[in-house]
């Protein structure tokens, strides 16, 4: 039996989808290790405590609320100190983070602070004799390593979308937690959060991603992707490295080997040839649609559905069809 502490990720005062996936993953860890409690640490500025309910709905037995102005923007130093103190004062077998930019950073700090191992970015896992044995993509996702971690607590991070968030309702139980280090004393200070220029749905959380490549020919033509994203209503727009290098889209929108990994339910690649560097960041998407003029483009090899055609014709037609389907 092992209790699990998860770090529930929030951004700009709102819980991220990955936080609920983390709760589901933690429930699985707890149950596979013979039953245990799942505690979710929710840190943020004023009002973050009111966002705790979904964590209980997805299976957190306790929500540890760290509500403090010093966490309105991310504060990894003070958060690391607080997590370390909770772990040292509690009885956690596992500490679980989402393998996002913040979660990757935080999990490394926590593991080093506690002097314990970390298995990162798991796409699947099981508990065998108390040890977490998990799958971690390596070599740009071209090989999958099965890693085993020993020691207590074990720190793990789980790849976004690898676990489907599943409701497991509990009565909401919250505990107020004080920061273990003065948040104002952190040496590294986050002074601003810049949301991407699509702004609406976070690329890492969006169930649908519309990605554009060089085939769109100019920055302004990304309006076609934005329009399709609007038609879906739950979509974010991403881009290839060529596009972000040219400054057509912000750097943070890059998907691929040198950008972000995304794994949405639906990935629509528009005017993307499918270089392996790009495929490395999206090939685990559930359903992939490719639209490209070149019928021999490598993107069609990973796409479930392909349309050979001009993005300037197909995207507007698809936008109208999606609007019609959503309206129906």
């Amino acid at each position: 039996m092992a209790n699990v502490l998860i770090i529930a990720e929030a951004r700009a005062g709102d819980l991220r989808k990955v936080a609920l996936e983390a709760v589901t993953a933690a429930r699985s860890l707890a149950e596979q290790s013979g039953g245990g409690a799942v505690h979710a640490l929710l840190a943020g500025g004023a009002g973050i405590g009111t966002k705790a309910a979904p964590l209980a709905e997805y299976g957190a037995d306790q929500v540890l609320v760290l509500e403090h102005d010093g966490f309105a923007l991310s504060n990894p130093e003070a958060l690391t100190a607080t997590v370390a103190s909770l772990v040292q004062g509690g009885s956690y077998g596992y500490v679980l983070c989402s393998a996002t930019s913040h979660g990757r950073d935080l999990s490394a700090r926590i593991a080093a602070r506690l002097g314990v191992g970390l298995v990162p970015d798991l796409t699947g896992f099981a508990v065998e004799g108390g040890a977490v044995v998990g799958q971690h993509p390596i070599n740009n996702g071209k090989v999958v390593a099965t890693l085993a971690i020993t020691g207590t607590p074990a720190v793990v991070s789980v790849r976004p979308s690898a676990v489907q968030a599943t409701p497991a309702p509990r009565a909401l139980a919250t505990t107020v937690v004080a920061p273990a280090a003065d948040p104002a004393a952190s040496r590294v200070k986050v002074v601003e959060l810049k949301q991407g220029n699509t702004g609406k749905i976070d690329l890492g959380d969006a169930p649908v991603v519309i990605a554009g490549g060089r085939g769109l020919k100019a920055a302004e033509h990304f309006a076609l992707c934005d329009a399709l994203a609007d038609a879906f209503g739950n979509a974010a727009v991403g881009a290839t490295r060529a596009v972000t290098d040219d400054g057509w889209r912000p750097h943070s929108d890059q998907i691929g080997q040198t950008g972000r990994n995304v794994s949405p339910d639906l990935y629509i690649a528009a005017g993307i040839s499918g270089a392996i560097q790009h495929l490395a960041g999206m090939r685990t998407s559930r359903t992939i649609v490719a639209i490209n003029k070149d019928k021999d483009a490598p993107i069609f090899k990973v796409a479930d559905y392909g349309i050979v055609g001009d993005v300037f014709e197909v995207l507007p037609a698809l936008t109208e069809a999606v609007k019609a389907a959503k309206g129906a």
């Binding site: 390596i138 074990a154 810049k194 972000r260 559905y305």
Partner: protein, 250 residues
């Protein structure tokens, strides 16, 4: 400005990997190696900072096999002044074990800045930089794609999923460098010649106990072959039907 850059020798990824018969690792036969992409940008950042300051040094630190001297020499050919190889033949997947060995080596170096690439594209661990910072008690900023340094402080922008953060930090500090900060220079012929004479220290890596071990390796399951739904806008209704009824994502 005294800068250390931690680099890694990684396989060139434009190949189809094979798994050994015992399923324990990927076959290294015939693989080519280079400096990890992100580490090239860390080296470039260090060189630019030194050039801008007009003074200082760039030291390269690498944990890896003896052959990784090639990668240290390449970094020197780009302009790094000196290098250390922490030699091991082990394929280490425990990031904390690596971080401890690096931290021990860096501890008394008096560096103003210690740079890492954001992630090594082979292990994809993305943890060594912040772990070293933690072990050394230094402030750390990960995923840096914009950077401005003053004498004793810095300002950076770090990339998140579809967003970014602007951060301020004091020196000395650890930074992990992301794509977008710069484009690495190619070694010049003159640089390659000069690199041969630069000091390269080789010592055994002090790897302690490892909490993370590889059980097995496998190739990812291939995606089932897809299909071309049709050509041009005329194929859209059929695509939408498939997304609704077959993929059930609309």
């Amino acid at each position: 400005m005294k800068i250390a850059v931690c680099i890694k020798r990684v396989p060139v990824m434009e190949v189809k990997f094979a798994i050994t018969a015992d399923g324990s690792r990927y076959d290294e036969t015939g693989l080519k190696y280079d400096i990890n992409d992100f580490d090239l940008w860390a080296i470039e950042a260090a060189l630019q900072l030194k050039e801008k300051a007009g003074t200082g040094s760039v030291h390269v630190l690498c944990l890896g096999p003896d052959a990784a001297q090639e990668q240290i020499r390449k970094a020197m050919a780009m302009g790094a002044d000196s290098g250390t190889l922490l030699q091991t033949d082990a394929r280490v997947y425990d990031g904390l074990a690596v971080a401890r060995a690096l931290a021990t080596e860096l501890k008394d170096g008096g560096y103003d800045l210690i740079l890492f690439g954001r992630i090594a594209i082979d292990s994809m661990n993305q943890m060594t930089g912040p772990m070293v910072a933690e072990l050394l008690g230094l402030p750390v900023v990960t995923n840096v794609f914009k950077l401005d340094l003053a004498a004793t402080t810095g300002r950076a922008e770090r990339v998140l999923e579809g967003a970014s953060e602007v951060v301020e930090f004091p020196l000395p500090a650890v930074l992990t460098i992301d794509d977008g900060l710069n484009k690495e220079r190619l070694p010049s012929l003159k640089g390659i010649m000069a690199a041969k004479k630069k000091p390269l220290d080789v010592k055994p890596a002090a790897l302690g106990e490892q909490a993370v071990v590889v059980r097995s390796m496998a190739l990812p399951t291939e995606r089932a072959a897809g299909r071309i739904v049709g050509e041009g806008a005329a194929a859209v209704p059929e695509l939408v039907r498939l997304l609704q009824t077959e993929a059930k994502v609309l």
